[in-house]
Amino acid sequence: MATARPVGARNPVAETTHAIRERIRSDRRLAWALALVVLVLVILLPYAFDPASPFVDHCVTALAYVVMALGLNIVVGFAGLLDLGYVAFFAIGAYTAGWFASAFFATVNGGKGIHILTGTLAGAQPGIHLNFILVLIVAVILTAIAGILIGLPTLRLRGDYIAIVTLAFGEIVRVVAVNGQSIHLGGTNTLTAGRQGITPIDSPELPGMSAFSPLDLRPWYFTALVLVLIVVFVNFRLRDSRLGRAWIAIREDEIAAASMGVPLVKTKLMAYATGAGFGGIAGAFLASYLNTVNADQFEFSFSIFVLAMIILGGIGNIVGVMVGAIVLSFVNVWLIPDVLHDVPSKLGLNFDLTELSFGIFGFLLVIMMVLRPEGLIPERRRQIELTEGVGTDEALFEVRS
C-alpha cells in the first residue's frame, strides 16, 4: 500500500495540529477571526522593516509565487490535471508586460509610442505603454487563451500524457522566447529580446499609491498582496461551487462525471484558463517588479518549482499551498543563498549550494510523495485519494475509442 505510516501510532504533535484544524474547520467565525488577524499582521509587516530591505523584497517575490501556486492549484489541485508546463503562462504574462509596458516596440506610431492611461513617467517614451491594471487584464486574457489552446489537445489524453504534453508546450514557449529575436514583426520589431531581456519595464503608476520604486518596496508589496487576496478569494469560491464539485467529480471518476452531465472538455478548459490567468497575472507583475523579461527565466525547472510548492503545502489545500509557496520561495531566495551558502565550505566540502537548489526541490518532491503525499497541510479529499486509492484513472476517451 502507498502509505507505510503507522495508523495507530500516537503522535502528540500531529494530534494537536489535527485538533486545531478540526476546530477551525468546524467554527467558521474562528476561521474568519484568524484570517483577519493574519491579514492585519501581513499588512503591518512591511512597516517593521526598512522600505527597501531585502526582507520586504523577498516577501514581494513570495507573494507573487503564492499567486502562481494558487493558480496552478486550480489545475492540479482542483481539476487533477498535472500541468508540467505552467512556466508558459508566467512567460506569456511577463511578455505581456514586456510588450505593452516598455519601450520595446520602439517604432510603433512613428516612434511616438502608444500610451493608454499611463502616468507621467511612461507617458513620454516610445513603445506601447498601458496602465498597469490594463496590462494585468491583457495578461489574463492572453494567458487564458493560451491555457485553452494548450489545454485543448491534452483533453483526449491520459493523465501522464497530459503532463508531458504540457511540458512540451512549456518548452516550446521557452524556445520561442529564446529565439524571439529572429521572429520579426515588421520594421525593426521582434517578438522577444531573447536572453538579453526586455528592460526596463514600466513600474506601475496607480492613483492613491506612492511611487513604485526600488527604494520603496511597500507599494509593490501591497499590490502583490491585493493580487494574493484576489487569487485566494477565487480559489475559495471555485472550490465551493458547481464548478468545484465538477472538478472533484472529474478527477475522481471522469466516466461517472460525464454520465452525470458534466461536460468534460468545457469543465477542464475552465480549470486551464483560470489557472493560466493567474500565472499570467503573476508573470506580468514579476516582469514589472524585476524590471526585465528575460528568456532564461522560463526554464522547465520553474514549473517544477511551483509544483513543489503545491506538493509541499498540500495539494488542493488553499492555505497549505500558500504556506508551501512562501516556504519554498524563502528557501530559494533567502535560506539557500544567504543562510546556508557557507555550510558546505565549513564542512570542508567544495560545492556551491545555490547550484543545488533544484536538486533540493527534487529531493523534496520525492520525499513528500513517498512519505506524505498529501502535503504539510492536507486537503481531506486529496489525502484520501492519494493514500487510500479512492478514484480511478480511467479516461472517458479511452473507453469511447
Binding site: L243, E252, S259, G261, V262, M270, R381
Partner: protein, 281 residues
C-alpha cells in the same frame, strides 16, 4: 431481422403504434474480434418498466453504455425522445433526460452523499465560471435549491438523514446503491437506466426496490430500463423483457412470453437463472 418474432401481446407491443421514448435500431459493438452487441433493435414504450436480461457477458452493460454515450456504437442508430443521440457525448445525453446507475457502483468516493447528488444536478444548473466566482444572488439561490433538492431526493430514496454528510466511500453497499439512484434521479431524467440495481441485496431489500421502482414510475412519470439478474424482480416489475445472448437479441415480449420462449430457456439452461425462470411458473 434475425430475431424470432414473438407473438405480440397488446400491453407490451414494441411496435410503431406505441409511443417509444427510446428506440435503438441495428445497434452493434465490436471489441477487437468479439461482437459484444450484435445489431440489436430495441424500443422502450414511454412510461413503461422494461428489462434486459441475459447470461453474464451477453452484452447488456455494453448496450447500456452505448445508449448513454460511454461507448461509441460501431453500427446502428439510437433515438431518444425524437432526437438522434447516436454516439452523442454522455453529458449531452444526460442533459436530454437519460440518467443511469452503474453495475459496479461509481460514486465520487470522497464526496458526501449530498454532494454526490448535487453533482447529479449539474446539467440542470446554470452558474458558470462567473457565477461560481462572484456568486450573484441567482447563483446563491441556485445553490440553496440544489442542496434542498438533493436532501429531498436522498430522503425519497430512503437514505437515513444522519448519513447525508458522510463520505460516500464509508457508507454501506446498500446505501451507496441508494445514493447512486438518487444521483441519477437528481438529473431530472425522463428515462432511468439501472444496471443490476439489486446485485448484492437480500430478497427483502430487492422486494423493496421493486416497489420503489413502481413508485418512481408512477409518481415521477419516469420510464425505467432495468438490467437485472434476479428473476423474481424482473418478472414482478417488467412490462416488457428483452433477452440478450452473445450480443444478440433472442427474444422479447411480456414476462409470460419470455418465460416460455424456447431459446431463452436454452440460453439459460443449466444455469441458476434457468431454474429461477422455471420456478416462476
Amino acid at each position: 431481422m434475425s430475431t424470432e418474432p414473438v407473438p405480440a401481446a397488446s400491453a407490451s407491443d414494441p411496435g410503431d403504434a406505441v409511443d417509444a421514448i427510446l428506440s435503438a435500431t441495428g445497434v452493434s459493438k465490436i471489441f477487437g474480434g468479439l461482437v459484444a452487441v450484435d445489431s440489436v433493435d430495441f424500443k422502450i414504450p414511454r412510461g413503461a418498466i422494461v428489462s434486459i436480461i441475459g447470461p453474464n457477458g451477453a452484452g447488456k452493460t455494453t448496450f447500456f453504455n452505448m445508449l448513454t454515450g460511454l461507448y461509441k456504437s460501431d453500427r446502428g442508430r439510437v433515438e431518444f425522445d425524437g432526437v438522434n443521440i447516436t454516439n452523442e457525448r454522455p453529458d449531452i445525453i444526460t442533459k436530454l433526460g437519460v440518467a443511469r446507475t452503474f453495475q459496479n457502483i461509481r460514486l465520487f468516493g470522497t464526496m458526501s452523499a449530498l454532494e454526490n447528488v448535487m453533482v447529479g444536478q449539474h446539467a440542470r444548473m446554470r452558474s458558470g465560471l462567473f457565477g461560481s466566482i462572484f456568486r450573484p444572488p441567482w447563483t446563491r439561490r441556485e445553490e440553496v435549491d440544489v442542496r434542498e433538492k438533493a436532501e429531498e431526493t436522498l430522503k425519497y430514496v430512503g437514505l437515513r438523514p444522519a448519513l447525508m454528510h458522510q463520505m460516500s466511500v464509508n457508507l454501506s453497499y446498500g446505501d451507496q446503491r441508494r445514493i447512486e439512484i438518487a444521483r441519477a434521479l437528481a438529473s431530472e431524467p425522463k428515462l432511468l437506466l439501472l444496471d443490476e440495481p439489486t446485485a448484492g441485496m437480500n430478497p427483502e431489500e430487492s422486494a423493496r426496490l421493486t416497489a420503489f421502482m413502481r413508485k418512481l414510475r408512477d409518481e415521477r412519470a419516469l420510464t425505467i430500463l432495468l438490467i437485472e439478474h434476479d428473476m423474481k424482480v424482473v418478472m414482478g416489475v417488467s412490462e416488457q423483457i428483452t433477452v440478450l445472448d452473445h450480443g444478440e437479441k433472442i427474444a422479447e415480449g411480456s414476462p409470460q412470453e419470455v418465460r416460455h420462449n424456447e431459446r431463452v430457456v436454452e440460453a439459460y439452461l443449466g444455469s441458476r437463472e434457468a431454474r429461477a425462470v422455471q420456478a416462476e411458473d
